[in-house]
């Protein structure tokens, strides 16, 4: 479950206040959810500054689009959906910028992210795995990465992920399967 009933009731009250335009309700809502949003964004983008920006953008959107929230729905998945969309938007912007700064041949984007040796500073194995995980996750296609992050970092069920991403259950299953195998392929040397 996303949250227990008591907390969810209060979340709902806060959202109802946001719907009425009461900005004071934003601070307690942020207090409850900002860490979770930060971790989702960080797992997705692998960059703390970008993740912090996503946290801010998520709550700006939460306020601006509060009227679109369905009062029958739970609050946490709705905020998660905004956070994932904001993470994807930011990733696209960064990718566009990277492609403009360093023009690459079509189709070599993923390989170029994965190539290159580990720096001497990354000598310790733990750091190596972290660095390789950063690269491997960044190289996954957008949806596969979102599904993987929601499953293995947020520990959401497949049904919840389908709801958050607005896709069918079958799509979530195939995306998760592809993502895990792609990560395994990219991290093979370290996992042996």
């Amino acid at each position: 479950v996303w949250s227990n009933a008591g907390v969810d009731a209060t979340d709902r009250e806060l959202m109802e206040r946001l719907v009425r335009g009461e900005r004071e309700a934003l601070s307690p809502l942020m207090e409850r959810h900002h860490r979770r949003v930060y971790r989702i964004a960080l797992a997705y983008l692998r960059n703390p500054d970008d993740a912090l920006d996503v946290v801010q953008e998520t709550f700006v959107k939460t306020f601006e689009h509060a009227a679109r929230w369905n009062p029958a729905a739970e609050v946490a998945p709705w905020i998660t959906r905004i956070a994932v969309n904001q993470s994807i938007d930011r990733y696209r912007r960064e990718r566009r910028r990277a492609q403009t700064m360093t023009p690459m041949a079509e189709g070599d984007h993923h390989e170029s992210l994965d190539s290159g040796g580990i720096s001497p500073e990354d000598a310790a194995r733990g750091t190596q795995v972290k660095a390789r995980l950063d690269r491997a996750l960044r190289a996954l296609p957008e949806r596969q990465r979102a599904v993987f992050v929601l499953r293995h970092y947020e520990e959401r069920s497949l049904e919840e992920i389908a709801d958050v991403l607005g896709v069918r259950l079958g799509t979530v299953k195939s995306s998760l399967h592809r993502a895990t195998h792609e990560l395994r392929r990219r991290l093979q040397g370290l996992l042996a």
């Binding site: 942020m30 971790r39 797992a43 946290v55 801010q56 995980l133 970092y153």
Partner: protein, 258 residues
């Protein structure tokens, strides 16, 4: 390896991800007993997911206190609500309704279509210059420098807003206030500023004075102890007011963004 076996591979990865239960889980476990390739697959995926479970990102905390994040969101909302874009949004929505009404009139009012239809000629799209020349690179660098300066100013603005806000009394000393979070944040911002914002470069020449003023205030805040006298805080506030620093920071941020 055939299509049938590919289905087992999907099930094996879902099993490793903890997403199978009931009969399908039992069936997949039985398949693992008989298929060495899937067993190896399963073991490798479990190792991968064990690495993921040890990823420090899972326990990461934002390195910015909640109060600063809230202040930054509030500032963004203030900017958004007061921006012409927001007001133009409403105007555009009204215009959209008017256009829709017009389109419906064209579609349903007899005789309206022929009199208003205008012949159009397709125009050639401008040919874009492909490639990266020195001028384009310079523009990109300038944009990047401005973006970094805007981010720095937004974070510095949080500290300044907090200094203006009601101060928390320090429990240790009478007539003192707690400024440890602000001091620590200022120190962190100043160390990052040196790396991110190049005051000597041409890209930020018009912003230099305000950025120097911001640096000076942050330096003073950074030098404060956690429990500082109210008079010190008042002096800082006066200094900010005399220089109209908050207003300048907001104006400069908007100018850099635009």
């Amino acid at each position: 390896m055939n299509l049938f076996h590919e289905r087992w591979r999907t099930r094996v990865s879902l099993l490793a991800s903890g997403c199978l239960d009931g009969g399908l889980r039992e069936k997949t476990l039985r398949h693992l007993d008989t298929c060495a390739a899937c067993r190896d697959d399963h073991a490798a995926l479990l190792r991968l997911l064990e690495e993921v479970r040890q990823d420090p990102v899972r326990e990461a905390e934002p390195d910015v206190a909640l109060q600063f994040l809230v202040a930054r969101v509030e500032a963004r909302l203030d900017t958004a609500l007061s921006s012409p874009a927001w007001r133009w949004g409403w105007a555009a929505a009204s215009l959209g309704i008017a256009v829709l009404a017009g389109a419906l009139a064209v579609r349903f009012v007899p005789g309206f279509v022929d009199e208003t239809r205008v012949a159009t000629t397709p125009t050639a799209a401008p040919v874009a210059e492909v490639g990266m020349d020195a001028a384009a690179l310079e523009r990109l660098e300038r944009t990047l420098a401005r973006e970094q300066a805007v981010r720095y100013l937004a974070e510095a603005e949080d500290v300044l807003v907090n200094l203006r806000a009601e101060a928390r009394p320090c429990p240790k000393k009478h007539a003192h206030v707690e400024l440890d979070a602000e001091a620590e944040r200022s120190r962190e911002l100043l160390s990052r500023r040196a790396l991110l914002v190049d005051l000597e470069g041409n890209a930020l020449l018009p912003a230099r004075d305000v950025l120097v003023d911001v640096d000076n205030v942050l330096r003073e805040v950074a030098s404060l102890s956690g429990c500082s006298g109210r008079d010190e805080l008042e002096r800082l506030r006066r200094e900010m007011d005399e220089r109209q620093l908050l207003m300048k920071v907001r104006l400069l941020s908007r100018e850099l963004v635009s």
